[in-house]
């Protein structure tokens, strides 16, 4: 089995295990505490995410063996420099929008007089995004 196929099976199995564990957790401990319900739901979501990724990779791996020409076309589309440039530009625009949105949400939450804890969580998320952007910018200044 090739590396892609092996990774796909590992992800499939890990996803299945997580889904089963989350169902068991919810069944046995879900009603005990709210936190347990949240944890089991999160594991359930993560498990299905891995499962979906595994199925996608497995399909790609099978297609590569069955129809290498089609797979080559898919890879060309995926690695096409214009598509990558468009994707990066779209992400950059979305980041700019997110900064304005975070600010608007903070103002709205403050007007609504929500609990300070909730306000600080949103503020932390906003700052994390900005600091991460700054970190990447400084990293790229050194590398490029």
């Amino acid at each position: 089995m090739d590396k892609g196929g092996r990774t796909a099976y590992i992800l499939l199995i890990a996803g299945l295990v997580l889904v089963i564990v989350s169902v068991i957790c919810f069944y046995f401990f879900g009603s005990e505490r709210f936190a347990y319900t949240v944890v089991s739901y999160s594991i359930f979501g993560g498990g299905f995410g891995l499962l979906g990724d595994g199925i996608g990779r497995l399909n790609a791996s099978r297609l590569e063996k069955k129809d290498p020409e089609r797979m080559r076309l898919i890879n060309i589309e995926k690695n096409d420099e214009r598509n990558i440039a468009i994707d990066e530009k779209a992400r950059a625009k979305a980041y700019t929008l997110s900064i304005y949105l975070f600010s608007a949400v903070l103002v709205i939450l403050a007007i609504m007089r929500v609990e300070l804890k909730a306000l600080l969580i949103v503020l932390c998320a906003d700052l994390t995004v900005m600091i991460y952007s700054l970190y990447i910018r400084l990293k790229l200044y050194k590398e490029m």
Partner: protein, 71 residues
């Protein structure tokens, strides 16, 4: 390159001279057909790697394919 400056190219002209379809050129350069279309229309400027690849494909120098025009 400043904002007002433009880069033109002779990709469409060279491709038609050689009787090559956009799809065929795209396949040879390992890019999508849309990229070739955008290049020919001047909507997209290629990376330096792709520019070299294109020039190599046509057997020309990079400055014979891509023309830089200052404002």
């Amino acid at each position: 390159m400043c904002k007002g400056d433009a880069m033109k190219n002779r990709v469409e002209e060279l491709r038609k001279e050689r009787g090559i379809k956009q799809e065929e050129l795209a396949m040879a350069l390992e890019v999508s057909r849309q990229t070739i279309g955008s290049l020919e229309n001047g909507r997209y400027n290629p990376s330096i790697q792709l520019a070299f690849k294109i020039s190599k494909f046509f057997g020309l120098k990079i400055e014979d394919v891509f023309i830089y025009e200052e404002e």
